[in-house]
């Protein structure tokens, strides 16, 4: 019987129907024909995952060589909430009017954004959700912002082409979307892109590099050589607010790239 009535943690366990019961549920496939041995193997795996006791609730043959399992059990692990690191949003969320206002009064010209899907990735759904007027999740895309100039290069853009366009239009920020993750293509493409920008622009004049996609790890921006990573469910408003936070609001020295471009 638990006597705790205060808020959760700092030490917590999974919750099934009783505080502290530690119950979890997993499903997996083993490359074994379905028999007693396979079921034993599934329980062994569950034990090694820290489930004790583990309850094999479902096992089903999938063809002659594979078996699918569902296992319930109590995990022995404890979670210390104090050790969890969270990337909190480091910028305030602004409405579109505030974004336009901030750009008008602090930048004094349009904020230039170039977007693309690079490499072989043809999935423009992410970049389009952020850039197209149509937008995403009920928010209009960046094209809708009066004080932004948006150049959407679309799918399968080559990195040199992206760098060239960014230079031509004087991009303040470059947004790259990566959906395909096979063989870590998203990581590879992103590092190639950031390296190319850092080589093509003098230090301090590299446009703000932003990547987005459903499979980027939070907090991996530094390792990828970019300024910010956005994950699944990011809305255009968040991206716009970030751009303002980074490029507009904190600028105390004049833009080295000149006033009007």
């Amino acid at each position: 019987m638990s006597t705790e009535t205060a808020g959760p943690g700092p030490i917590v366990r999974p919750y099934g129907d009783t505080t502290g019961d530690g119950m979890v549920q997993v499903s997996f496939t083993l490359p074994l024909p379905h028999d007693k041995r396979a079921e034993g193997a599934a329980l062994q795996l569950a034990a090694k995952m820290g489930m004790s006791p583990a309850l094999l609730v479902h096992a089903k043959a999938m063809g002659p060589h594979f078996t699918f399992f569902v296992v319930y059990g109590s995990v022995t692990h404890l979670v210390d909430v104090r050790e969890v690191e969270v990337v909190e949003r480091e910028f305030p969320l602004l409405g579109s009017a505030e974004v336009n206002q901030a750009i008008r009064s602090h930048l004094g010209r349009k904020l230039v954004v170039v977007g693309a899907c690079i490499g072989t990735d043809a999935h423009t759904v992410g970049i389009d959700a952020i850039l197209n007027i149509k937008g995403f999740a009920g928010e209009k895309g960046l094209e809708y912002y009066r004080e932004m100039k948006v150049v959407n290069l679309g799918a399968q853009v080559l990195v040199p082409e992206l760098v060239e366009t960014a230079r031509e239009v004087g991009a303040d920020a470059v947004l790259v979307s990566q959906v395909v993750t096979q063989k870590d293509a998203h990581i590879h493409n992103t590092t190639t892109m950031s390296a190319a920008f850092r080589e093509a622009f003098p230090a301090g004049e590299v446009p703000l590099l932003v990547v987005g996609g459903p499979r980027f790890e939070e907090g991996s921006a530094k390792a990828l050589g970019v300024d910010r990573v956005f994950g699944r469910g990011t809305t255009p408003g968040e991206v716009a607010s970030f751009l303002v936070h980074e490029l507009v609001a904190p600028r105390t020295v004049p833009d080295p790239r000149g006033e009007e471009r």
């Binding site: 496939t29 999938m62 594979f66 699918f68 072989t120 043809a122 197209n132 395909v180 096979q182 293509a185």
Partner: protein
Amino acid sequence: MSSRRPALLDLDPAVVRKARSLARRAGKPVVDLARAHTTVSVERATLRLAGLSGADHEGTPWVNHLVDAVRGEVGLEHGVTTPVWDALRRGEAPDLLTLAQKASSGGVVFRLPEGRDLTGSRKAARSAVAKGVRAVDAQRRARERMVATVGDAPRTPWVYLIVATGDIHEDIPQAQAAAREGADVIAVIRSTGQSLLDFVPEGATREGYAGTYATQENFRLMRAALDESSRELGRYVRLTNYASGLCMPEIATLAGLERLDMMLNDSMYGILFRDINPIRTFVDQRFSRQVHARAGIIINTGEDNYLTTADAVEAAHTVTVSQLLNEYFAKEAGLEDWQLGLGHAFEINPDLPDSFRMELAHALLARQLFPKAPLKWMPPTKHMTGDVFRGYLLDGFFNLVGAMTGQGILLVGMMTEAVVTPWLSDRDLALQNVRYVMDAAGGLTEDFHPPRDGFIQTRARQVLSEAVDLLETIVSDTTAKGTTYPQPLLAAITDGTFGAMKRPPTKGKGLDGVVVKADGYDNPATALLEEGATR
């Protein structure tokens, strides 16, 4: 294909007739435009029918070399075949392959023959291309024979499963396993980016991103493996690939030669979602559909894609409009009703009240408008959130609509959509879902008659009337009158009417491969396909 009569919607036949006649009015000027042009890919496909295959050591196909060489010397305005067979008759090379190899290093002089040389070259070209057309005919007969001997899929909808590893030798065991698990149709997803390649890769391939390259050899290997599975299972397992992108006509041709059974082949997908030039697309599409018609291939259209960028309720009528246009273009190219796997999808936001009833209304509308077409029913993707449990339920409801409305082809939804490429267990669970719903509720087509003027009938009529309105707006758009491209449908595509994408006819990829036909243009493939001739 569907033997069950679906419930009636009580649509006004006059409105349905009007919708079709407006689709024809919108489509006809585009067909005329397509007939007035050829493309590098159409010409390459013609050479493939004449038996030219293979590539140089860098992987550039010989058909590309030969078309480029002819284009460089005499242009493609008269078609590639006349100058090519003229060169062969003049003894520039002993055969087509050697000619292409010589031409690739600039070693052949091409000319436009006249008089007797012209008739002779045309005749020789026709006889060479006719061999390829007869090979396509033979594959169609082989399919019919095999379906008759081993048996067909036991019921509709056909269960359609996707395989995509990037490696054809991995795809094969996966496809055979999927067939054993109950798939009636196997689709091999193409490698990301193939649609924008202006050549067809050669040989068996083991490297692809999120899919496997469509090549003639990969087609052959997979069809052979599925023939084996068909015999083992006692039902013909169909194979699907993608005739889309810049090489649409060539891929259609290879599909005909290697006995693929269904091909994704939308009239506007490449324009809207791959930014391929509209003229290029319509020209390539017409040729590829003529090949599909001849090869007995069922086409699948891509209306589901509109709903991934636009709202499935607001834009429901754009799906209907696109289906009507796809039907018009398909029939004009010679496809029959049974070959029209017109697409539609279960993509309404499940949080909306009555979302399931609207899905039913939309699916019934498609069923009712195209009673003899197989129809391809596509699972939810946009509202699959990663909550696999909810996703499994949503797929169940998707299957239920499929069962209740007599769909012909059902693409199996995966609960891990948008999470991972399907695992073995995902596919197994998904097929259990389909089987349960079909066995439990497949017979509902008999009982289910939406009440007169009830929610479903009213909604279906509303979507149809919005579709008619949109078609009317499209055909009466005269803003492009007097310009190079006065076709109202092209103006509509320019304005972003479909999928919210704006695609003008003067832009997009592959435009440089479009050529205006001269008066003396000749293409024996088109002639054979349009005449239904074999020699």
